[in-house]
Structures are given as structure tokens and as C-alpha cells.
Amino acid sequence: MSRPARIICVGNRLLPGDDLGPRVHDLLAGSALPDGVELVDGGLYGLDLLRSVEGAGRAVFVDAVAGFAPPGEVVALGRDEVSALAHGAWGHDAGLPHLFHLLPRVCDGELPEILLIGAEHPADVAQVAARALAEASRP
């Protein structure tokens, strides 16, 4: 059986502006997902999402972003683009850039294709969810 694509939604559902990932998660959790696509509520976590990445063929992260495009516009960022934003020591505030940066050296098994789908607040949740699903379902 081929490795699944995982949509990993991160963010804080209690904080408007950082709740895009959880809202996409809730929308997709109520839908029938295509075969081979799995959904993870990654919540507040960063490095602790490693085990959710391992074993996937593709990991599509969904998170609020800032500064990449006008608010609401859906952006797709590759692993290199996000990991380039990691700098300094890991801290409590370290997020996806640290995870993406370290992944090649700490991921057991084959490194999945990594992608971040995001949008700056306010964003259309359905539009972001559709893009994430399209990326995850891509052959």
C-alpha cells in the first residue's frame, strides 16, 4: 500500500487570526476524504508533529501565514521556503520553520514531500481547505 498524504492543520482555535488550521480541520473532518488522504489536528504543536509527518508520502500543512500575499489569498509554500525562516535556537515560540528545517535530519524513513498551504487573516476557510485537499489528492 502506498504511503498516505496527510493534511496536518496547525494553529490555535481560541485565537482569531491563528485559527485557520483548526477551522480547515473542522471543515474537512466533516467531509468524506479521498482514499489515501488522512487528516491530523496538529493544534499548537511544532516538533511534536514529527511522528505525524513520518510515514506519509506527502505532508500538507495548513496554517495561518503573514506577509506572503494579501490577506485572504491562498499561498503554497515549499519546505525550503519555510525552513529558510528558521533562525536562532529552538524556543517555546518555534513553529513550522524549525520543524521543516530539521526534518531531513530527524525524520525516520523516507522524507515526505512537504508543503504549507496558508493564508493571511481573514481568509475563506473553504477555499483554503479545497486547496489543501487538492494538493493532498494530487497524484
Partner: protein, 512 residues
């Protein structure tokens, strides 16, 4: 004439949820103000919600200590309902919490504290090249290894709680899920592997050998004894830390608090004090007194909250934001937690002092509190937890994993308090339930103790005080300040992680 200047330092990369204002005279910190710049407001968010909602909402306070908040919330509701948690429920709750501790302690040590050893400020030290090789952010050998080795331990929480992440498996009366014996055996496998790695790389010796280190002289002898000890992360922490003078930095008030943690099951081979594996107590220097939760108060004289003069017990506390316009007098969103009216530091060092640990009692008596002792206590705390984790796991397996829950009935009106030791120190949740809803919820986090601002009497918080006397050789790279603050492991906002393009520059910041 002394050269005096003010220095404003954001402590994390994202433009600041914790900022320090330091007054520096002749290159030494002479006064300090610690500002929590972000209003969290979880207490207000919970008012009016269902009685059980703290179990789901409070784990979202922290992306590192979510199990810790779940435990405090569950224990507060245990107290409201009068629930008596059966032994296996106690053991499994404890195990999940201890997993969070042993992961956090190692990650803090390697990825945050030791990262500062790779700071260019130490390029003149003979050990600096090795420090860079081992601990350089995002690249050091030990960094990569620590991330690899600490990722699997959380599987234990997933197996105990039936879910990861965002498990809310602790409920009043015990656990909502009873793991199968096969899952518990997997937990054992993961735990054994973690312990083997911790002994090999972090300690460089067996836990039994480390626990025999009972004085400063014995610590020196341990370093001399074997190359493996010197090469371990604990060994390097000590060797470099002494060369850089970290054992002379970050003294503080010399008062220590542990609220006690990890309840002992009624029947267990594990040994503790006063019903806890981690004893409760308050210490002035090394003189330990009994802990009285009624002696806790919160002051808001220097915090942006409306309220009373003097302190108020958290069961009567309010969290009413108040932008006062009194610029200067109020300077933080963190309240000032006090014990018997005075400040107290909390965390792994406080736990060891309160427990009467011979090594840390001797270190304190000879050197006083310092940044190196604080981090040593943190990086070696897993040695005090891992053996008991194995004991409790075996006891659960031997009893077939049954009886993890006793139904306490519906949540009745009442008040309850859940106090435990989080990875960073004392954590308390105080809840009042009326007509099935939360009427009041107050939380004091470890950073509410360690990172508190001044109280009604104008007395500095613990890390404000610990900063006094800290040299600042280079105002643009105040690495010494970083050691002192990081030795307390400040709880910064780890619950907002927006990926942001670019970053602001311009002020001195604490990073390698």
C-alpha cells in the same frame, strides 16, 4: 562617574511577549523590570462555560505543557466532586505528566540553554568549538540527536490517552480511556529506550551512579571519574558553565517553592514524602518549611489589572484588565504570585531543595542559587523520574490495566484547587462551579511566580532579582542575561505560531 543606561531586551525571536528592561551601571545590571507584554485572559474565557470545559480549554494555554494543564484542571475538578481516583488512574495520569517533564527537561537543556554556549561571545574559550559542534542552533550534533530521541516518548501519552495531540483523557475520577496491556507494553518499550539514551548521552552513566552524587565534592569526583561523564551533556554543561562563570550568575531571593506533585497511589513500591513523589514545601535557603496553599496570594500593584491593594488568594482572585495610564508603576500582564507575602522561585532546583536532595543542598550552601545549578537540576531531573515511571508502568501492567476510573457523579456546585509541579514549577488551577457552570477560574503558572513583576511592597519578582549583579559585557549581545533568564525556563507564548515572512530587527535580543 558611573555610566548608567537602560537596556530593553525582547527575550524571544517573535517581537516580544516577554521583555526585560535593565538598568546597567558600569557594565553590571543594577535594576530589572520583567514585562509580560501579552494579555492571555484564559480565566475570563472560562467564566460561564460548562463545569468540565477547563479540561479542553486549559491544555491550549501551552503547546509544551498541555498535559500539565489537563492534570491541574482534572485535579481541581476531583476536588470539587470529591472524586477518589483509583490507583491505576493515579499511576497513568502521573506517567503522562512525567513524559512531558522528561521530554521538556532534555529539550530545554540541549536546544535552549546549551545553545547559548555556542554564542560568539564565548569564541575565546577553549571549549567553544566543541560547543558549536554540539549545540549550534538548528545544526549541532546534539541538537539533531535530541530532537530524534525525544520525539518518540510522547507516544506514551498517545497510548495512555488514546489520542495525540490534544488529548483530554483526564477527567474527574480518573481517565476516560483504559489502555490495553499490549499498549502498556509498547509504552514500556518506548520508556526503556528513552532511559537507555538518556543515561548514555545526557548523563554518561547509569541513573544509579548519577544519584550517588551527593555533594559538590562528589560532583567534582564524578567529572574526574570517566571520560564518558565529561563528554556527556551534563558533563559539558558543567565544564563549560564553570569556565564561563555561570555558577556565579543569577542568585535571586533564595526562596524556593514546590507545591508537591505526582500523588502516590495507595499501594506502590515507589517512595515519596507526604503522599507525593515530588514533595511540597517552601524553603528559605536550605531551611525547608511545610507548604500551605492558603498562604499564596497574587498582587497586581505593578500589573495591568484592576484590583485590590495587597494580595488576594487565587480562589478569590479576579482577572480584570486595567490599562491604568500609570506608566511605569504598572508594567506587566503577569500578576505577582507571592507566598506568605514574599516572592519564591519555583522549578526543578526548587523541587530538589525542598526535597532535601543532598547534592543541591550542598551546592546551595556553598555557592548559593545560580544559573548553572538551576539548569543542572533541570537536565538531571529525568534521573529522579524515569525509575519511578518504570515502577508505575509495571504496576499497571501487573494489575491488567483495569480500574482507571471511578464515576464521581455529576459536577456539583463547589470550589476546587488542583496544584501540581509543571515542568517549569508550581502550577495551580482554582475553579468555582455554580449551577453547573464555571463562576470563577484562576490560574497561577510557574512564570507567574518566576517572572512576576514587583508586588504591593515593591519587591522584585524572582528573575528580576536574579538579574541584579549580572555583568553585561556587550549590550548588543547580552548573553549573560540570557543564561540567567533561561535558567528559569520562562514560559513564553508557545501557542501562537504563525509563519511570518521576514522579521523585525533593531534591538538587542537573546539568541545564539
Amino acid at each position: 562617574m558611573a555610566v548608567r543606561k537602560m537596556l530593553d531586551i525582547p527575550v524571544n525571536r517573535v517581537e516580544g511577549d516577554l521583555e526585560l528592561r535593565l538598568e546597567v551601571a558600569d557594565g553590571v545590571v543594577v535594576d530589572a523590570w520583567s514585562t509580560g507584554t501579552m494579555f492571555r485572559g484564559f480565566e475570563r474565557l472560562l467564566v460561564g462555560r460548562g463545569a468540565l470545559d477547563g479540561l479542553v480549554v486549559t491544555p491550549r494555554i501551552c503547546g509544551i505543557c498541555s498535559t500539565t494543564h489537563l492534570m491541574a484542571a482534572a485535579k481541581a475538578l476531583d476536588a470539587v466532586t470529591g472524586a477518589v481516583v483509583p490507583d491505576n488512574g493515579v499511576r497513568l495520569r502521573n506517567l503522562a505528566l512525567m513524559v512531558e517533564h522528561v521530554q521538556s527537561d532534555v529539550r530545554h537543556g540541549i536546544l535552549m540553554f546549551l545553545a547559548d554556549y555556542a554564542n560568539p561571545a564565548y569564541a575565546h574559550l577553549p571549549l567553544h568549538d566543541e560547543a558549536v559542534r554540539r549545540y549550534a542552533p538548528l545544526a549541532g550534533e546534539a541538537v539533531v540527536e535530541a530532537v530524534r530521541e525525544t520525539k518518540r516518548i510522547i507516544e506514551i501519552i498517545a497510548m495512555i490517552g488514546g489520542q495525540w495531540p490534544h488529548s483530554s483523557f483526564m477527567v474527574p475520577g480518573g481517565l476516560s480511556y483504559g489502555p490495553q496491556v499490549t499498549e502498556l507494553l509498547q509504552c514500556r518499550h518506548v520508556l526503556d529506550a528513552y532511559r537507555a539514551w538518556y543515561e548514555r548521552r545526557i548523563l554518561g552513566c547509569s541513573i544509579e551512579r548519577w544519584m550517588a552524587v551527593d555533594s559538590l565534592a562528589a560532583l567534582d569526583a564524578w567529572l574526574e571519574e570517566a571520560q564518558a561523564h565529561r563528554d556527556s551533556d551534563v558533563g559539558f554543561l558543567l565544564r563549560f558553565g564553570r569556565a564561563a562563570g555561570l555558577d556565579k550568575l543569577g542568585g535571586g531571593h533564595g526562596t524556593f517553592l514546590s507545591s508537591g506533585s505526582l500523588d502516590l497511589p495507595a499501594e506502590t513500591a515507589a517512595r515519596g514524602t507526604g503522599g507525593h513523589l515530588i514533595p511540597a514545601g517552601f524553603a528559605r535557603g536550605i531551611a525547608v518549611e511545610a507548604f500551605d496553599p492558603a498562604a499564596i496570594s497574587e498582587h497586581v500593584a505593578a500589573s495591568w489589572y484592576a484590583g485590590q491593594d495587597g494580595g488576594r488568594h487565587p480562589s478569590e482572585g479576579e482577572t480584570e484588565p486595567y490599562a491604568s495610564g500609570e506608566e511605569g508603576r504598572r508594567y506587566s500582564w503577569v500578576k505577582a504570585a507571592r507566598y506568605r507575602g514574599g516572592p519564591a522561585e519555583t522549578g526543578p532546583l526548587a523541587e530538589r531543595v525542598v526535597a532535601g536532595d543532598p547534592l543541591f543542598t550542598d551546592l546551595l550552601a556553598r555557592q548559593g542559587a545560580n544559573a548553572l545549578a538551576r539548569e543542572l537540576a533541570r537536565l538531571t531531573r529525568p534521573a529522579t523520574l524515569l525509575p519511578t515511571m518504570a515502577v508505575w508502568l509495571s504496576e499497571v501492567v501487573a494489575s491488567g490495566g483495569r480500574d482507571v476510573y471511578v464515576n464521581p457523579g455529576p459536577v456539583t456546585d463547589g470550589e476546587g484547587c488542583g496544584m501540581i509541579q509543571a515542568a517549569r514549577g508550581s502550577l495551580g488551577h482554582w475553579v468555582t462551579v455554580r449551577q453547573g457552570r464555571i463562576e470563577r477560574y484562576q490560574i497561577i503558572t510557574p512564570t507567574g511566580w518566576n517572572g512576576s513583576p514587583r508586588d504591593s511592597g515593591g519587591v522584585r519578582g524572582p528573575w528580576e532579582e536574579a538579574l541584579i549583579g549580572t555583568p553585561v559585557a556587550d549590550a548588543d549581545n547580552p548573553v549573560e542575561v540570557g543564561h540567567v533568564i533561561r535558567s528559569f525556563d520562562p514560559c513564553l507564548v508557545c501557542s501562537v505560531h504563525t509563519v511570518r515572512k521576514g522579521r523585525t530587527m533593531g534591538r538587542a535580543r537573546l539568541e545564539a
